[in-house]
């Protein structure tokens, strides 16, 4: 399973893409196009990581803390 994850990761990483110049990035640089989760989602991601068995690979927590309640 770990092997397949690495293959997927490598395949995506080395995929060829069109070269986009700086002046062509007006859409890519739009704040809504960000490839990270939003500030406003922070506590939503926390709640999900405590209520569900899975976590990680989303910019949120992978462990640490209690989630006691």
């Amino acid at each position: 399973m770990i092997k397949y994850c690495f293959i997927l990761f490598a395949a995506f990483s080395f995929a060829s893409c069109a070269h986009v110049k700086e002046y062509q990035k007006n859409r890519i640089n739009d704040s809504e196009m960000s490839l990270s989760s939003r500030h406003v989602e922070k506590n939503e991601l926390n709640a999900e990581s405590y209520r569900e068995g899975a976590s990680g690979a989303n910019g949120g927590k992978t462990g640490g803390g209690c989630g006691c309640n």
């Binding site: 196009m33 500030h39 939503e44 209520r51």
Partner: protein, 429 residues
């Protein structure tokens, strides 16, 4: 002789090259800038959950509302930015979060339901990073601390490096360590009750969830309170290595892939989570002392036309406790104007049960590991809602409030857990 000539020529070229670098005076007029306040982010959230099954009560369903939780979370992040002599960007970020929660199940750490049912969590953070735009590299360090009343405390450290390539791609490697100490607070029925004075059976001590003791008379009135001895704790360590790659695919599309490898060891259960055997007898959840998690997430964002953006996310997750999950997420920001957008979103999540999970009164006394915590059960969940974002160039009301985001989500789990969360983010420049 030929060798010597070549050596002399070589040395001459090296010296010429070295001297050609010497008068490298900056003709651009560049001056380094000291760290200066760049942005302040305030995030507040209110979370309201209703559920009947709680891990503290071992998944019993006859305590209605036992899984109810409210949480009021507030955080501030202050970011400073400066440029050094080598034109490298330095970013320092200082954060502080404070949560106040109420949890119905927390009261039942004491079997009479009289424990304190609320608490506060405090978590400061400190992050520093340096970005070299010429080389396309950056690296950073961070520290984190978190403490929740008497239940636990935790500190964390992280470090990352990243490198951009010539085709608008960026590789990052991040390592994170969390080092927790879990206070061993047991449900009261597992704590021997000392009788003081030994001959007098009309007075007895009740150990509270906060670790203190209360001397109670036969009619249940508290005669005196004592802080009690320090509660022993057990460690829990979480080590994570994250690999990520982001790529601009064309003028309208970009994507990323993130792979986390997470190793946990130590005390991975919680001492106040009950489990009821099929005999009716109760005990404390017991889980293995190691867990390996492997989540891999993919994001793909696409700018459709001039006003609509598709933000998609998929995650596959598997761990050594036999839990497998899939997460799908789609957000569709619609730009009403260039500075105002509305974002409906939907998230679907499904997981299989961990091999140590069983509902109330199913586990047998012969099992080595057992839990009735429904976070490890088989279930599906749905989250849907909408958000708005307002970011006019001249600010909102004042010039310094540059962006406002408001987001509401309704969350349902097939375990009968329902929750609502509303969050507000204010960004000041």
């Amino acid at each position: 002789m030929k060798k010597l000539s070549l050596s002399v020529i070589g040395m001459y070229l090296m010296m010429a090259h070295a001297f050609s670098q010497a008068p490298a005076t900056d003709s651009t007029g560049y001056k380094p800038k000291k760290l200066k306040l760049d942005e302040i982010n305030l995030v507040s959230s209110y979370y309201d959950q209703t559920a009947n099954k709680s891990a503290v009560m071992g998944g019993r369903t006859d305590y209605k509302g036992n899984g109810d939780v409210t949480d009021f979370a507030n955080g501030i992040d202050v970011t400073f930015i400066g440029w050094d002599k080598k034109q490298r960007k330095n970013t320092l970020s200082v954060g502080l979060g404070i949560d106040y929660h109420t949890a119905a199940s927390q009261a039942y750490v004491d079997s009479n339901g009289t424990s304190r049912n609320n608490g506060t969590r405090i978590y400061p953070t400190l992050n520093w990073s340096r970005e070299n735009d010429k080389k396309g590299t950056s690296f950073g360090l961070g520290a984190y601390y978190s403490s929740e009343n008497n239940y636990y405390y935790s500190y964390g450290l992280n470090a990352f490096v990243s490198k951009k390539n010539k085709t608008n791609g960026e590789f990052s490697l991040k390592v994170v360590g969390f080092f927790d100490q879990i206070k061993m607070i047991y449900p009261t029925e597992f704590i021997p009750i000392p009788k003081i004075p030994p001959a007098d059976n009309t007075l007895h001590y009740i150990t509270t969830a906060s670790g203190g003791s209360e001397l109670v008379n036969s009619s249940g009135q508290v005669v005196s309170k004592s802080k009690g001895p320090d509660i022993p704790s057990k460690p829990r360590n979480t080590l994570t290595a994250s690999l990520s790659f982001t790529q601009i695919i064309n003028q309208r599309m970009q994507g990323s892939v993130e792979l986390d490898m997470v190793y946990q060891n130590g005390y991975l259960g919680l001492p106040f989570h009950r489990v009821f055997y099929n005999t009716g007898k109760d005990t404390i959840e017991n889980l293995p002392s190691q867990r390996f998690k492997l989540p891999i997430g993919f994001r793909l964002n696409y700018f459709l036309g001039d006003n609509i953006i598709l933000r998609s996310y998929y995650r596959f997750y598997a761990d050594s406790w036999g839990l497998v999950s899939n997460t799908f997420n789609l957000e569709v920001p619609v730009k009403i104007t260039p500075f105002f957008s509305i974002t409906p979103f939907y998230r679907f999540y499904m997981q299989s049960a961990a091999k140590y999970f069983a509902p109330y009164a199913i586990h047998t006394e012969q099992e080595q590991y057992f839990t009735s915590n429904y976070a490890l059960a088989k279930f599906n969940s749905n989250l849907f809602g909408a958000g708005i974002r307002l970011a006019p160039p001249k600010g909102i009301f004042t010039n310094s409030l540059r962006a406002l985001e408001l987001r509401y989500g309704h969350y349902t789990q097939t375990t009968d857990l329902n929750a609502n969360i509303i969050s507000l983010n204010l960004s000041f420049k």
